[in-house]
Amino acid sequence: MMIKEIKVGMASCGLAAGAQAIYDALETSLPESVKLSKTACIGFCYAEPMLETVDDEGVSRYYGYLTPRDLEGFGKNEPPVKKLIISQKEEAPGNKKLARQVRIATRNSGMIDPDDIEQYVAREGYKALEKVLKEMDPQSVIDEVKNSGLRGRGGAGFSTGLKWQFAHDAQGDKKYIICNADEGDPGAFMDRNLLESDPHAVLEGMAICAYAVGADEGYIYCRAEYPLAVRRLKKAILDAMDKGYLGDKIFGSDFSLKLKVKEGAGAFVCGEETALIASIEGQRGMPRLRPPFPAQSGLWKKPTNNNNVETYANIAWIINNGAEAYAAYGVGKSRGTKVFALAGKVKESGLVEVPMGTTLREIIFDIGGGIKDDRPFKAVQLGGPSGGCVPEELLDTSVDYESIAEIGAIMGSGGMVVMDETTCMINIASFFLNFTQNESCGKCTFCRIGTKRMLEILQKIQAGEGVLEDIDKLETLAEQIIASSLCGLGKSAPNPVLSTLRYFKNEYLAHIEEKRCPAFVCKDLISFEINEEACTGCTLCARKCPVNAIEGVAKGPHTIDQDKCISCGACFDACRFNAVLRT
């Protein structure tokens, strides 16, 4: 085999891990017979920086964990075998991971250069749009989407086809479509990956939607924290206009569409559709009462259809392959596939796309490879600040909208953060509440003040000053906030507290009754000491201590100055002789 082409993965994860240096080095060192190009995210984030080789027989192989030292081998046609992650030909460690996935929304991610429209077109790109414009009327497009069973992938899970029907049926000479790319959940990066890896799939989905609902103008509202996604989207729009896939009289039909990118300015609540619309209109992003729903009165008071990035990314595939093919995946009322961002204390973090109905255990252990350092699993957090923590006994829960809601979490946009025994559940609850409390727009009193009070109670418990009544107060406040908040942010803000109370009440009790943090996280409840008999005087802890709180001479026992100690645990992690005691 001879390597003919090398593609370097250059989405945010890859770039953060050093992909640019890899690319630059290859550019100067590769022989001319090997073509060098860029691609984006294949989803194996843990192994970044990665590259793909294509040999003279057309066989693809992916190599990961690359360092500049590995590169020489690629030029000599001797790639580092140990770093082979996926191969189309021989056994490779990542093959099984990939085999468990069904890639529909991410069908092109990591396969094509996102900046090259020709590569998208070569993989059936804009074929669905052409088919729709030439062969289908708007109602049959909507019916097809309805029959596919596709539901909103931003988290709420409303039927996409039905949503389109409302916008289609609404009276009005001017209509808008919006793509919600304000992915704000901490720990979720599916939409960023889609926009960086395959922007045209999103644009094509939007164009099909615009035709179906009768819109001629649209906005993509993208987080400003995703500069690469914004840049690639803007280029993709220009290229598509150039080729006649966007703009006036697309494919010679009467259908025209203008798309614009609007950059967000940093407000989580703008993920809520009425707040997002207010933000596009140039105001503070505050949600408003629904009805009227945006389908009746949305942007500039015109009928507006709003979908999430991943929802749009599925559309062209559904049109090309048929509603039935899509609905063949999934369980119950949750059809098709869902992309998840797997992160936290899992060995092989990254993006995975699986059919609905896959279990949490399969995702975390079979695809994610299990827990880092083989520690025991404690919980997986689904749905970000609006979601909940799922304990081990529920790991066999099927991942679909209904089953996840039943266990007190939400599907959300697809963030999946794995936690082990070193994570304190009160700390996690207060982490999320701190987030929602900060991001509350302030319109509804209970969301504005109630979340603050809940956070204060959690902080009191973490400081070892909690009393049992605090648990009742948390539950009451949670109930009130849910009942009296206008939008999803407030209605779901108490979920992280409620779900940890439901499944990890013991930890609350340990903090309150025994003044003990079982995960050794809450700083006011832990302290560190050095066992002088076990200490060999290696000085490693003293060197690691960020506040110079450890004293002692080499080969002599060390001590911790408790007044200086900030309980960060660096000495505990560093000590090789188990001489640092944690209580």
Partner: protein
């Protein structure tokens, strides 16, 4: 008035919903949004100062004070949080000798920001200094990293 700012305002003349992009571009030019700038935008666009101030304080990307030469962003996403981002943040505050409530150093060298999620969760915990990303960090590595920025 700064000519560049005037150009920005002229570019959006007559366009609906332009308050946010005007503020974004002005901040790009000046580094932050000052009271004087808000007044000037009002004079030229007719958008009330209260509305502009309301927007500038609502969205987290707008800064009302001058920033340091180097911006440090500590990722506080969930994955980073469970991997020890809090320790990094407090260690940075100690190293930069930042008093509570302040986020820019006296000498104007660094501004420390906490951000929701940088989106590279597999490298947790992560900080960004300007455009450089540092992943899989431990707090004892920070001092050396800071030394690289003058």
């Amino acid at each position: 008035m700064n000519k560049k700012i005037l150009n920005v305002i002229n570019k959006y003349e007559g366009l609906k919903g332009s308050a946010i992009p005007i503020l974004q571009e002005v901040q790009e030019i000046e580094g932050y949004i000052s009271k004087d700038t808000i007044r000037e935008i009002t004079e030229h666009t007719g958008i009330p100062s209260a509305e502009l101030y309301g927007i500038a304080t609502f969205y987290s990307m707008f800064r009302l004070k001058p920033q340091g030469r180097h911006i440090i962003r500590v990722c506080k996403g969930t994955a980073c949080h469970v991997s020890g981002a809090d320790n990094l943040a407090s260690m940075l505050r100690t190293l930069l000798e930042l008093p509570a409530g302040e986020n820019t150093t006296d000498d104007g060298r660094f501004t420390l920001l906490e951000v929701a999620c940088l989106g590279c969760c597999s490298l947790a915990p992560v900080i960004m200094i300007n455009e450089d990303t540092y992943g899989k960090l431990a707090s004892d590595k920070l001092a050396k990293i800071l030394d690289k920025y003058e």
